[in-house]
C-alpha cells in the first residue's frame, strides 16, 4: 500500500514504453555495492483502521491540555483557537500548495501573505515584515545575522539573561563559528537594568537583544533600553509576545530596529513545540537585509493589481552563500493561520484577550501569594506570566500538581540554577476561575 495508482498492468505497459525489461533495470546505475538487497527494517504496514487504533493508544498515554489544566508558558501557550482559523488552514488549496513560485497559480497564498505582512506591521508598529521564519528562537538568531549584514564591522552581541534560555542557546549555536561574541547580561533582579546595559555597551556592540515581557513574565524597561542601545549606534532587537500587544506599547512606537516573536499564540496549536511560527519585522531602511520570503504588490500585463515573491535576489536560491539567510521552506500555512486569527480578533478582540490574560494572571498570583511561604519572585509588572517563589523545590512541587491533573507551571530552576525554588506560571483567556482556584487548592494541599 503506497498511494500508488500504477497497477501491475500499468507497470508493464510503462516499462515497454521506457524500453526497460523490469523496474530493477531502472536502478542499474546504482553500484551493486551500494544496493540494499533486503526490505527496510521498519514496522509492517498499517491500514487506516489500525493506524487510528495505534494513535488512539499513543494518545491514551498523553495528558493533553484539555484533560490536564495547562498553566505552562515559556513561548507556547494554551490560547483559544477560534474555529474559523482551522477552516481557513484546512482548505486543500492552501495546505497542499507549495511555495508560490508561479504567481498566476498562487494569488491566493500571495495575497494572504501580503496581508499577513501588513497585519504584523500593524501589530508591532514596524515598517516591513517577512512572510515567516521557523519559530521564535531561530528568529532571534536570524535577527543577529541580519544585524551582521547591516553593521559588518561590529561583532559584539549583548543579550539579557532574562531572554528565553532556549532562544539564547539557539543564538549561541547559530553563531558558534562566526566572528561574533555573545555576552549575556545578568538580570538578578528579574529584568535588565539600564545601568548594566550602559556599562556593557561599546563601539563594537552589534546589537542588544531584550525579550519583553521576558522569560519570567516581567516587563523590561524596553523603551529605555532601546534608547540607550540606539544612542550607542547598536541595533535594538526586541523579542515580543504578540498577545500582550493588545495592551502593551508597540515596539515600533519605542524605536526598536528589528522585532521577532514566537507566533504560536496567534491561532496555532501547541503541538508539542512545532510546527509553530517565527515572526520578524524591521524598520524600512533594513528591508533589503531581512531574511526569508517577501511578498510584494505589483500589476500584471493588463494592469491588474496582483502579488509576487519579490526581492528574491536576497534569497538563497539566487545569492547562494551571500544570501541573507538559508531559509527556503518556511512556516507559510502558520502565517496564514496567524492572519486569520488576527483578523478574527481585530483590535477589540486582541485587547480583550490580553486584558483577560492580565486580570486572570493577577488573580491567580494574588491567590497563590496568599499561601504562606509563597511570594512573587520579582517586583516588576507582568501581563500573562509570572514567577513565584515557593518554600519547596519547584520541580518536585510540579510533579505533585501533575498527579492532581494540573500542568502547574515551568520549574524555573531548570534553566536558572539560582531559582530552583521558583515556578513560572502562565494564564491565558481560557483559564476559568474554577480551574485557577483548583490549582491554588492543589498548591495548598502539597
Amino acid at each position: 500500500m503506497s498511494y500508488v495508482l500504477n497497477t501491475p498492468a500499468d507497470v508493464q505497459e510503462m516499462l515497454r514504453k521506457v524500453g526497460a525489461a523490469s523496474l530493477e533495470e531502472l536502478f542499474q546505475n546504482i553500484p551493486e555495492s551500494n544496493r540494499l538487497r533486503r526490505l527496510l527494517n521498519v514496522p509492517p504496514s498499517l491500514t487506516e483502521i489500525e493506524l487510528q487504533q495505534h494513535f488512539g493508544e499513543l494518545c491514551n498515554k498523553n495528558q493533553p491540555a484539555d484533560q490536564t489544566v495547562c498553566f505552562l508558558g515559556g513561548g507556547s501557550y494554551d490560547h483559544f483557537i477560534p474555529a474559523v482559523v482551522d477552516v481557513v488552514s484546512s482548505r486543500s488549496e492552501f495546505y497542499t500548495a507549495y511555495t508560490p513560485y508561479q504567481a498566476e497559480a498562487s494569488q491566493g497564498s500571495l495575497q494572504a501573505f501580503f496581508e499577513y505582512q501588513t497585519l504584523v506591521c500593524q501589530l508591532t508598529g514596524m515598517d516591513v515584515a517577512n512572510a515567516s521564519l521557523y519559530e521564535g528562537a531561530s528568529a532571534v538568531a536570524e535577527a543577529v545575522l541580519m544585524s551582521l549584514s547591516i553593521h559588518a564591522k561590529r561583532s559584539k552581541v549583548l543579550v539579557a539573561e532574562s531572554v528565553h534560555p532556549e532562544y539564547r542557546q539557539t543564538l549561541a549555536t547559530y553563531l558558534a563559528n562566526l566572528p561574533v561574541q555573545i555576552t549575556t547580561l545578568p538580570t538578578p533582579g528579574g529584568t535588565l537594568s539600564p545601568e548594566d546595559l550602559k556599562k556593557a555597551l561599546d563601539d563594537q556592540t552589534l546589537c542588544v537583544i531584550v525579550q519583553h515581557p521576558n522569560f519570567f513574565g516581567c516587563l523590561e524597561d524596553a523603551e529605555n533600553l532601546v534608547k540607550i542601545t540606539k544612542e550607542n549606534g547598536a541595533l535594538a532587537i526586541i523579542s515580543f509576545d504578540p498577545i500582550s500587544l493588545g495592551v502593551l506599547k508597540r515596539p515600533g512606537q519605542y524605536g526598536a530596529d528589528i522585532v521577532v516573536a514566537e507566533g504560536q499564540t496567534l491561532g496555532n496549536p501547541m503541538a508539542f513545540g512545532g510546527p509553530i511560527l517565527g515572526i520578524m519585522a524591521c524598520r524600512e531602511e533594513y528591508v533589503r537585509k531581512i531574511p526569508g520570503r517577501l511578498v510584494g504588490q505589483t500589476v500584471d500585463r493588463n494592469g491588474k493589481r496582483c502579488w509576487v515573491l519579490t526581492l528574491q535576489t536576497r534569497e538563497q536560491h539566487i545569492r547562494r552563500e551571500k544570501a541573507t539567510s538559508n531559509i527556503c521552506t518556511n512556516q507559510g500555512l502558520f502565517a496564514l493561520r496567524a492572519a486569520a486569527y488576527l483578523t478574527a480578533l481585530g483590535p477589540a478582540g486582541l485587547k480583550e484577550t490580553a486584558e483577560l490574560c492580565l486580570h486572570k494572571a493577577h488573580y491567580l498570583a494574588e491567590q497563590l501569594t496568599a499561601i504562606p511561604g509563597v511570594s512573587l519572585k520579582f517586583p516588576q509588572p507582568f501581563v500573562k506570566e509570572f514567577t513565584i517563589q515557593i518554600p519547596g523545590d519547584g520541580a518536585a512541587t510540579l510533579a505533585k500538581l501533575l498527579a492532581s491533573r494540573y500542568h502547574g507551571g515551568l520549574a524555573t530552576g531548570r534553566w536558572y540554577p539560582s531559582l530552583k525554588n521558583c515556578i513560572t506560571i502562565a494564564v491565558t483567556e481560557k483559564r476559568t476561575k474554577a480551574e485557577m482556584d483548583g490549582l491554588v487548592e492543589a498548591f495548598r494541599g502539597i
Binding site: P31, Y95, Q169, T170, C328, T329
Partner: protein
C-alpha cells in the same frame, strides 16, 4: 463566476465596529489597568487591525484559496519538491487532542505516547538513512543542513583540526552554500562534467586538508544517480573530510540504496517532500538529520531517549552543539511522516520509490518527443528538459511553456534550476500520479509547443492574472498595505 466576493484586501474590507471573535466577561475580580501596568508601558490604543465580520472573513479566505493551484486540485510536477499526494488520514491524526494539545515543556511522564512516537521515528529515519543517530529538531531541510555542518564544525574542533572549507557541486540547491556560510565555512563550488556528474578532476583539485565537508545531492538535481559516489566519498574520507547528503531527492532511493551505504556520513530529510508532510503554501516542513555514530555526541539537545520502557527528553549531552530552535522540532510534520511510513511499511516504501522512478522515466520518454533532455534517456525520480532549441528557433522560453501549462490545469515544473541546464524545465511527477495524467501532460506539451509564440509569451490566458511585473515589484517594493494618507 467572477468576481467572487470579499477578495479585496482585508484592510479595504475593514468596517469600523465589526466584530468576529468575542471574549467572555472576566470571571474574576479585576483591577484598573493602571494599577497593574505602568502607564509608559501601555499603548493608548490597540493595534489598528482590520475590523471584519465572520462571514466576510470566511468568504475572503475561502475565495482566495480558489485562486491557488494545489496537489488536491491539480497535477504539480515541481522538480525537487516531490509534490506527492498528502494523505487525509494524517490531518485527522495530527488534530487529535492527545497530539495537538501537548505543551512542549510538559513533564515527560505526561507525554509518553508522543515521546514513543518520536523515538520510533528516530529509529525509522536511521534505518532508512543507513546511519546510526538521528536528530528530529531541524524545522526544514535548510536548517538540517546548517545543523549538520555545525555538528561537523564541533567534531573537527574537538579533534583540533582547522577545516574551513565546504565543497559544493555547482548543481546543488542554493540552501547548501547559504547554510555553509552561516556555519562559518568558506564555500568552494565544484564543477559538473558534461554528463551532469561531479567533475572528478575539479574535485581532486579543490580537495585538501582544509576540506571539512563535501555536500552532495544524490540523486543530483539533474535527476541522475551519481555513479562515481563510491570514489567521491572515498577521496573525501581519505582527506579526513566528511560527506553530507542533501536528502531532498530521497524519493528516488528509499529502500533501494541508503546514504550510509554509499559513503555519506551525514544527511537531512525533507519530511514535507519524501514523507508527505503537506507543503502548506511554502511550509511548514521538517528537516531531521541522520549522522554516523561518531558524530552523535554533537547532535542538538534534546534527543528522544529510552530508559527501560520509559521515554524521556535527554538534555544531558555535554558535547552537543546546543539547539537550532526552541522545543523539540516540527512535531506535527514528523507525526505525518511517521503515519505515512507506518501506512506503507517496508513493501510500500519500495513500491513508492519504484513507481516514482518509473513515472519519471515514463514521462521522460514522452516529453523527449517535444523537448531535449540533455542528460540522457534514463533518470531517477525527476529529469530536466531544456527549451533551449525552442528559444533559439522560435523565441519560446521555458517560462512561456510553464505559464501556458497553467491554462491546462497543470502547475508548472520548476524552471531555470539547476542553472547548469539552459532554459531548464525540472519535472518530478512522483509515484502518486496515474499514467493517464502523465500522458495528458505530455500531450499538452506537444500541443503547447505548436502554439503561436506571441500567444505563448502572453500566457496564461485563463487565470485571474497574467505575467505580473516582477521588476516593478523589486524596484518599487510595496511590501504592505498602508492607509491612504
Amino acid at each position: 463566476m467572477l468576481p467572487s466576493q470579499s477578495t479585496d484586501l482585508l484592510f479595504e474590507m475593514s468596517h469600523a465596529g465589526r466584530r468576529c471573535h468575542r471574549l467572555p466577561k472576566c470571571d474574576v475580580p479585576t483591577k484598573p489597568l493602571t494599577s497593574l501596568l505602568p502607564k509608559e508601558a501601555v499603548a493608548d490604543s490597540p493595534p489598528e487591525l482590520p475590523e471584519i465580520g465572520e462571514i466576510d472573513l470566511i468568504r475572503h479566505f475561502v475565495n482566495l484559496s480558489k485562486r491557488n493551484m494545489s496537489i488536491d486540485t491539480n497535477f504539480d510536477p515541481l522538480g525537487s519538491c516531490t509534490m506527492k499526494y498528502n494523505p487525509k488520514r494524517h490531518e485527522r491524526l495530527a488534530s487529535l487532542p492527545g497530539m495537538a494539545n501537548l505543551h512542549p515543556l510538559q513533564a515527560d511522564a505526561s507525554c509518553q505516547g508522543m515521546l514513543a512516537m518520536l523515538y520510533s521515528m528516530q529509529e525509522i529515519l536511521a534505518e532508512i538513512a543507513g546511519l546510526e543517530s538521528v536528530s528530529l529538531q531541524p524545522a526544514a531541510g535548510a536548517q538540517g543542513e546548517l545543523t549538520a555542518l555545525l555538528v561537523a564544525a564541533a567534531y573537527y574542533r574537538d579533534l583540533g583540526q582547522k577545516r574551513t572549507r565546504v565543497l559544493i557541486p555547482d548543481s546543488a540547491h542554493g540552501t547548501n552554500p547559504a547554510s555553509a556560510a552561516i556555519a562559518g565555512f568558506d564555500t568552494v563550488s565544484v564543477k559538473s562534467n558534461a554528463h551532469g556528474f561531479v567533475d572528478m578532476a575539479d574535485l581532486q583539485a579543490k580537495l585538501d586538508d582544509r576540506t571539512a565537508v563535501f555536500m552532495i545531492t544524490n540523486p543530483n538535481t539533474i535527476g541522475l544517480f551519481e555513479k562515481q559516489i563510491g570514489e567521491i566519498t572515498q577521496r573525501i574520507h581519505d582527506k579526513g573530510g566528511l560527506v553530507y547528503l542533501d536528502g531532498a531527492n530521497m524519493n528516488a532511493i528509499v529502500g533501494v540504496t541508503r546514504p550510509g551505504d554509499f559513503g555519506a556520513d551525514m544527511m537531512h530529510y525533507n519530511v514535507h517532500k519524501t514523507f508527505t508532510g503537506p507543503h502548506g503554501a511554502g511550509g511548514p516542513g521538517s528537516g531531521p538529520i541522520a549522522v554516523r555514530k561518531v558524530l552523535e555526541p554533537y547532535l542538538p539537545c534534546p534527543a528522544v531517549a529510552k530508559r527501560g520502557n520509559e521515554y524521556y527528553l535527554d538534555y544531558d549531552r555535554p558535547k552537543s552543539i546546543g539547539r537550532v530552535r526552541s522545543f523539540t522540532g516540527n512535531v506535527g510534520i514528523l507525526l505525518r511522516g511517521y503515519a505515512y511510513i507506518r501506512t506503507l511499511g517496508p513493501e510500500g516504501l519500495k513500491e513508492m520509490t519504484e513507481n516514482a522512478v518509473l513515472n519519471a522515466n515514463y514521462l521522460l520518454a514522452r516529453v523527449k518527443e517535444t523537448f531535449d533532455v540533455p542528460h540522457g534517456d534514463r533518470c531517477m525520480h525527476e529529469f530536466v528538459a531544456s527549451a533551449r532549441k525552442m528559444k533559439r528557433e522560435r523565441g519560446i522560453s521555458a517560462m512561456d511553456i510553464a505559464k501556458r501549462l497553467l491554462d491546462f490545469g497543470y502547475h508548472a515544473p520548476t524552471v531555470y534550476f539547476p542553472l547548469v541546464v539552459p532554459e531548464a524545465l525540472m519535472i518530478e511527477p512522483t509515484e502518486t500520479e496515474s499514467k493517464l495524467t502523465l500522458d495528458e501532460f505530455a500531450d499538452t506539451l506537444i500541443k503547447i509547443q505548436g502554439e503561436d509564440p506571441e500567444f505563448l509569451r502572453k500566457a496564461p490566458h485563463t487565470l485571474s492574472i497574467s505575467r505580473p511585473d516582477e521588476i516593478k515589484a523589486a524596484k518599487e517594493p510595496i511590501l504592505r498595505w498602508r492607509a491612504a494618507v
